[in-house]
Symmetry: C2
Subunit: 288 residues, 2 copies
DNA sequence: CCGTGTGATACCTGCTGGGTATCACAGTGT
DNA sequence: ACACTGTGATACCCAGCAGGTATCACACGG
């Protein structure tokens, strides 16, 4: 093996260490012992001629180069698993199209899309997979899904082809007793910096939370409950019924950016089954 | 190692075999013996549960699944080498921006771009790499280049962000003695199906040539010479001076699609050096 | 200053990737 | 018809390296 050309094993090991920032836990996660992992990372650093981790004998942190490799490794590993998955599917001819979407988002739209797709005679069956917020891109990139429902401008659509499905405004979701909840409409100015309803904070990719006054959350239902409890507010597309509890009030935010729900797929991965779904999407867009 | 998750070694081996369609030559290219290669491919097929090659004891051909894996493997391997390259560059801080372009295309435009970039004080130096026709995308994907000059609509820009640089019409390049060469302008109708000047045929990715009456070519200078010899014609952007020989005549093709030269880079790979180059590109577009 | 947690080091072992020799078979030419 | 040739598959061996265990070295907390 030449100096170039890493093996996926090395990338997997590095990603584990970079995510855990702890050799012991990373090794456990990988199902190997700690010393071989240390050695593998050291070898990787030697091979690349670059320091990836700054380890002061006690604390492990990523260097700038390490951060680059973490990002690139995720992309590369996704591409490798996508290769395996797509090849298996091509061989087995079980041509169900896998669609991934955020749990709870765009539910009615999805129902209409599936109904239209099922009505079209020559379409493949569509399997629906639900994922966490913002995970759709990785599902597409790793081949776990063929197509996704995503939202512009909130999701990063770089590297994907898209077909618009539906455009809508946003509403503020407020606890029902709050003064703002009785207003007929709101502006972004109104809902930002409400002292008693600070914006919630989601964990970053590395698991840490940004600073701020708002509560820390990592699931949608947590957040919905916090709104019902009068602890926070949020601004979401008008159709996100899954968020809405009896104790919530939704008030239109007139100047919030418009949200477009799009069908997205890996650029260059066309198939007849996908084309049929895109046709169904076009029907929905044209007859709202 | 689990059943999923291929190693890049396996992908490299498969790509070699799929491209050569010959185990012996593929093994030679990889610098290993033939038996281990046979075994590795067999293992890969078992692991994926899919037949990749149909080997009738004498002739090796790709199955449908094999074609899928070939395409996906190239993408995945590019992503892995990109990870290594970008990490090395991030560590070594030698921040020269690498620009790749087709040899001979957009020469004046490139000169202006480099001059503008050099004039801008806070830009990184730009290294220029020349590649074969249509190879820019792979240079970007594998991290061998950070940015490319490409052409819409001829190049596939899926997965890249772009900034327009320049738009121009196309000309037909003809042997100077030909009757069509004296016309002030032409249409696509005029230049298609000229019996004595059939369109040349380029090799496909697998090395085979499409059927047709035209000559087979695989380099630009070959093609230019064939035009000078009165064997073929071609339609190219007006500024492609590198194509033009003394024995050539260029005649505008009024209804040919307009060609836009764009600066392209991997979607999501922003950097300050790149941003500076994009600014330079915007200057060129606005002051033609 | 000792205990604890954590990454590095030393060293051993077994798996597996790679090599050589050979087989099996499909075309091919006389 | 039969030997020849080219090519992929098989059998078998070897060594390099991935991975394990034991232990060290050091940073921090009490």
């Amino acid at each position: 093996m030449c100096m170039d050309d890493l093996e996926t094993r090395e990338l997997r090991y590095f990603v584990a260490v970079a995510e855990e920032l702890h050799f012991g836990r990373a090794a456990e996660r990988l199902g190997i012992a700690q010393p071989p992992l240390s050695r593998a990372i050291r070898q990787l650093e030697r091979r690349l001629g670059v320091q990836l981790l700054s380890r002061n004998r006690r604390v492990v942190a990523l260097t700038d180069a390490g951060r680059v490799l973490l990002r690139e490794s995720r992309v590369a590993l996704d591409a490798v698993t996508a290769a395996a998955r797509r090849t298996r599917r091509a061989g087995n001819e079980q041509q169900a199209l896998v669609l991934v979407t955020k749990a709870g988002a765009s539910h009615e739209l999805l129902q209409r899309l599936l109904a239209l797709s099922a009505a079209d005679t020559d379409t493949a069956p569509v399997d629906v997979v639900l994922c966490e917020v913002g995970e759709q891109a990785r599902f597409l990139r790793s081949g776990r899904a063929d197509v996704a429902l995503m939202h512009r401008p909130v999701d990063d659509l770089a590297g994907f082809d898209t077909a618009d499905l539906h455009t809508e405004g946003q509403v503020a979701l407020l606890p029902s007793g709050h003064p703002l909840a009785s207003r007929p409409q709101l502006t972004l100015e109104d809902v930002s910096n409400v002292p008693d309803l600070p914006i919630a904070r989601w964990p970053r990719l590395d698991g840490s939370y940004p600073d701020g006054p708002g509560p820390e959350v990592h699931t949608q239902s947590q957040l919905a409950q916090l709104v019902a409890l009068g602890k926070t507010l949020l601004v979401i597309p008008a159709s996100s019924r899954a968020w809405q509890w009896p104790d919530h009030v939704a008030v239109p935010v007139v100047d919030a950016p418009v949200i477009t729900t799009v069908l997205a797929w890996s650029a260059g991965h066309h198939s007849s089954a996908l084309a049929a779904l895109v046709r169904a999407a076009a029907q929905i867009r044209d007859t709202p």
